[in-house]
Amino acid sequence: MGFLIDDNQPIFLQIAEQIENDILEQRIDEESKVPSTNQFAAFYKINPATAAKGVNLLVDEGILYKKRGIGMFVTTGARAKLIEKRKAEFYEKYVVAMILEAKKLGVTKQELIEMIQGGEDHA
Amino acid sequence: MNQSFNIMKMHLRTKFTLIYLPVIIMLFSFSINLIIANATNPKEGIYTGGIASIYIYIMIIGAFIIKETFPFSIGMSVRRADYFWGTLYMIVLVTICDAIILNILNLIETMTNHWGLNLHFFNLPYLNDGPIWQQIFIQFSILFHLFYLGFFSSSVHRRFGKKGLIVLMFITGIIASVITLLNLAPLFHWFAQHTAFQLSLWLIPFTFFYIIISYLFLRRATV
């Protein structure tokens, strides 16, 4: 579970993102239980309603589902769904921006591909 | 649950100032008188007004009890009315106890032939005439009256602040001077015609007046 809450994003979104990351990085498996709203609240020192808002966001997206009286669980296929979603975001947020910036600087397609390959070696 | 009962319990936490201290102060005054009587031993005996120490102290409690406990009670979500009634019940109990204690001491004083020193502290002529139940009532009505005299002036302060208190003193001053300007002989004559018990009955309407007015003031008082 990641720490710190940064101020440039509403807290409930950060909570949702934390859970997403935990699912993506397989810290929480599919069909297993996620911490309760109150546990999130206690851990991050936030209002339980805010934590609930983050959790409910994922319920609406079909990432989590509720078992009455037991708690919230990760849906089967949630991880695949999240990867799809994040890929789309990744394209939007980084790839498009990168191409725009590259155009501005006159970087050619070939150069860009080489840069990516070089960067991969670093990572 | 009725909060006035809790207010009584709250007052009981100050038993030392509310219950013990008045008696202690009076007994202190008494022991000084005892020492003096023992030392001088005058033939005509000693008649002292030392018993007034408890009267005055009870009046002072009446004047300070609001400042001490009212803001706390209101802060604990208690209604002003419950504070008022709880305090009243407590004071009825305290002053009845004090009246009984005074009469027990009165009894001892008479039985010991005025402490063997002809010291009249608890047993005073006129004040202690009449049957025992009348004497208890006399003490009770004096103590109770004086408590509410103090309580009343303090409620004026609580409701109207310093200005209110000054106005009250001003009015009292005017009434007092008007009375002294009048011919007082008939008034003294009237007093003389009545027994202490009858006079103590006359205190009742005054006490009621203070109680009603201080109730009305406290109901509109803030913290």
Binding site: N8, P10, K45, P48, A49, T50 | R13, S77, R219
Partner: protein
């Protein structure tokens, strides 16, 4: 949603000042509210009127559907902890706690005992002789142990260090999660509590300036830093809260929200953009001379 407090046209005038002017708001059940604003803005006066401790000059207050004034049913459900609370001179900590225990119908002695121990409060010590911090801890203990359906804390932790304040936040969250109730928290340490608050009401000069869910306040204001020229083109149509310049560098605080397009524009220009924290927002809004935000 169920409102437990409804206030309309609430006004409190003293002989020469209007402390609270035509205030209107609602408070919903089982939420944690922040009542924020500068000292002297009228927060305490409002809370005192909510709890029937002082009387409004005009307007209407309903708490649990009724007027709180001399109302046993309503008062039994309220616990108001205020910084300026007075205690009888001879009362020791234990006297205060036991009296509170007898008065508040939902009192939980276990919570009280835990907090008394955590705060290391000397039970036999007189209230008068406590340090400021310990004095505050007694109030916090009463406020939490009372489990009142409406619990109000007015600057509850003067003199408390960060450790003790954290203890308070933790207990509040824990106990609130287990026993939901309505809490109103008034404090100047806004950053510390902002994550605990579900709803925020900001009072300035006796009036309601903001009445919003905390999440909604997220894009209420921004600071933007860059060269004067870059900034000026961007903020033409924005409501400027404050502005300061240092050489060619300009920093402005503007009222949000910003559209996606505007954010992209800012990113392209490589300007420094920050969301205002709740504390920054309240400070910048309430320190403006005209106090208006329209």
């Amino acid at each position: 949603m169920h409102n437990i407090v409804e206030v309309k046209g609430l006004t409190k005038k003293y002989s020469d000042v209007t402390a609270v002017n035509q205030v209107e708001f609602q408070i919903e059940k089982d939420k944690i509210y922040g009542l924020l604003g500068k000292n002297g803005a009228g927060k305490t006066t409002i809370m005192q009127m909510l709890t029937g401790q002082i009387f409004p000059s005009h307007g209407e207050i309903k708490v649990f559907g009724e007027s709180p004034i001399e109302n046993q049913v309503v008062l039994n459900q309220i616990c108001f902890i205020k910084e300026s609370q007075k205690y009888p001179d001879v009362f020791r900590v234990i006297d205060v706690i036991e009296t509170a225990a007898s008065i508040f119908p939902n009192w939980d002695q276990e919570v009280a005992d835990q907090l008394l121990e955590e705060f290391r409060l000397p039970l036999k010590k007189r209230m008068k002789k406590l340090s400021r911090g310990m004095f505050s801890s007694v109030g916090i203990t009463i406020g939490l142990a009372s489990r009142a359906p409406l619990t109000i804390f007015d600057e509850p932790y003067l003199g408390l260090d960060a450790v003790a304040r954290n203890l308070f936040y933790n207990y509040l969250l824990e106990d609130y999660s287990a026993h939901p109730r309505t809490v109103i928290l008034s404090t100047h340490l806004i950053d510390e509590v902002s994550k605990l608050l579900e709803h925020v009401i900001v009072i300035d000069q006796g009036e309601v300036l903001i009445d919003e869910e905390t999440d909604q306040l997220h894009d209420y204001g921004y600071t933007l830093t860059g060269t004067k020229k870059q900034i000026e083109s961007l903020i033409k149509e924005k409501n400027i809260i404050t502005k300061s310049t240092l050489g060619t560098l300009t920093s402005v605080t503007i009222k949000g929200p910003l559209s996606k397009k505007e954010k992209e524009q800012i990113q392209e220009l490589n300007l420094d953009l920050h969301t205002l924290s709740l504390q920054q927002l309240v400070v910048s809004l309430t320190s403006r001379k005209d106090g208006e935000l329209k």
